[in-house]
C-alpha cells in the first residue's frame, strides 16, 4: 500500500524517536501490536539503507584516497611509522 508523505514523515519521526513524548509512547505501542505499521516501518528502514548504500562507491573511494594520503604524506609520517613498526616494516 502506498504511504502518503505525511505518514512517512510520522513513521520516520517515530523510528528516530523524534515524536512528542505522548505520541512517541503511542507509536511504540502501535509498533508492537500493529503488524501493518511494522511492515511499513521495515520497508522504510530498508529504503533508507538502500539510499545510503547507493553512495557506497563514493564512500569507499573517499576512504581509499584518505588511506593513501595518511600513508604517504609527510605530515602523517609518525602515524605511518607507528603502524609499520607493528608489522615490522619501515
Amino acid at each position: 500500500m502506498p504511504i502518503s508523505p505525511n505518514n512517512l514523515h510520522y513513521l520516520e519521526n517515530g523510528l528516530h524517536r523524534h515524536l512528542p513524548p505522548g505520541e512517541q509512547q503511542l507509536f511504540d505501542a502501535r509498533l508492537l501490536t500493529d503488524a501493518s505499521l511494522r511492515t511499513d516501518a521495515e520497508t522504510l528502514q530498508t529504503a533508507c539503507a538502500l539510499v545510503v548504500a547507493s553512495a557506497r562507491p563514493q564512500l569507499r573511494a573517499e576512504i581509499k584516497a584518505l588511506h593513501a594520503h595518511l600513508f604517504t604524506a609527510h605530515e602523517h609520517q609518525s602515524f605511518r611509522q607507528k603502524v609499520m613498526r607493528i608489522f615490522g616494516r619501515k
Binding site: 508523505p5 521495515e42 522504510l44 529504503a47 539503507a49 538502500l50 547507493s54 557506497r56 607493528i86
Partner: protein, 180 residues
C-alpha cells in the same frame, strides 16, 4: 551552491575518518598482526569497517558516540573471523598465514543497487542522497534544488522515498541486503 555543501560534507567526513584512523587503526593493526595477518589485511578490513560504521551511523544517528574506536575494532574482528572462517573451508590452513583474500563487497553490488534504483530517477536520488548521505539541512537542500521552501523540499523527499520503498516492496528486499 550544490558543490559547496557537498564539499563541506566531504571535508567533515575526511576529518572524522582521519581521527578514527589515528584512534583505532593502530589497535586494529595489533589485532590483525597477532592473528597472522599483514598490513594489507589490516588496511582492507579497516576500510571495510569504516564503510560499515559510517553507513550504520547515518541510519542510527548517535551510534557508538564516544566509543567509535572500540566499535570499529569490533567490526574488524567480526570481519576477520568471518573471512577466516570462509577461507578455512576453501583453502588449506597453512595458507591463512599469508593473509586473506577479500571480495570487493560482501553485500549487494553497486551495479545491482544502481539497477534497483533506476526507476526512481536521477533527481530523486540526488535529493535523497543530499538528505540521507550528505546530511544537508533542509533549508540548504531547498535552496540548492530550487524548492520554494523547506516544506516543499521535505514533501518531495518523501515522494521520492516512497518510490524507493515501493521498489523495496516489489522486489521483497530486506534491510540486511544492504547493511553488513
Amino acid at each position: 551552491m550544490h558543490a559547496i555543501h557537498t564539499i563541506t560534507a566531504q571535508a567533515q567526513r575526511r576529518e572524522l575518518f582521519t581521527r578514527l584512523y589515528q584512534e583505532a587503526f593502530p589497535g586494529v593493526a595489533v589485532y590483525i598482526r597477532s592473528r597472522g595477518g599483514g598490513y594489507e589485511d589490516a588496511a582492507e578490513l579497516f576500510q571495510q569497517a569504516l564503510v560499515v560504521f559510517y553507513e550504520r551511523r547515518l541510519l542510527q544517528p548517535g551510534l557508538a558516540e564516544g566509543k567509535e574506536a572500540a566499535y570499529l575494532g569490533g567490526i574488524v574482528r567480526h570481519l576477520w573471523l568471518k573471512e577466516a572462517e570462509k577461507q578455512k573451508k576453501q583453502r588449506p590452513l597453512d595458507d591463512l598465514a599469508h593473509g586473506l583474500a577479500y571480495p570487493e563487497s560482501e553485500t549487494v553490488s553497486a551495479g545491482r543497487i544502481e539497477k534497483l534504483l533506476a526507476g526512481v530517477g536521477q533527481r530523486c536520488m540526488q535529493l535523497l542522497r543530499a538528505f540521507y548521505f550528505e546530511q544537508q539541512k533542509p533549508a540548504e537542500i531547498a535552496e540548492e534544488f530550487g524548492f520554494s521552501g523547506i516544506r516543499s523540499a521535505t514533501v518531495q523527499k518523501y515522494k521520492c522515498l516512497e518510490k524507493v520503498r515501493e521498489t523495496v516492496q516489489q522486489k521483497q528486499l530486506r534491510y540486511a541486503d544492504f547493511t553488513e
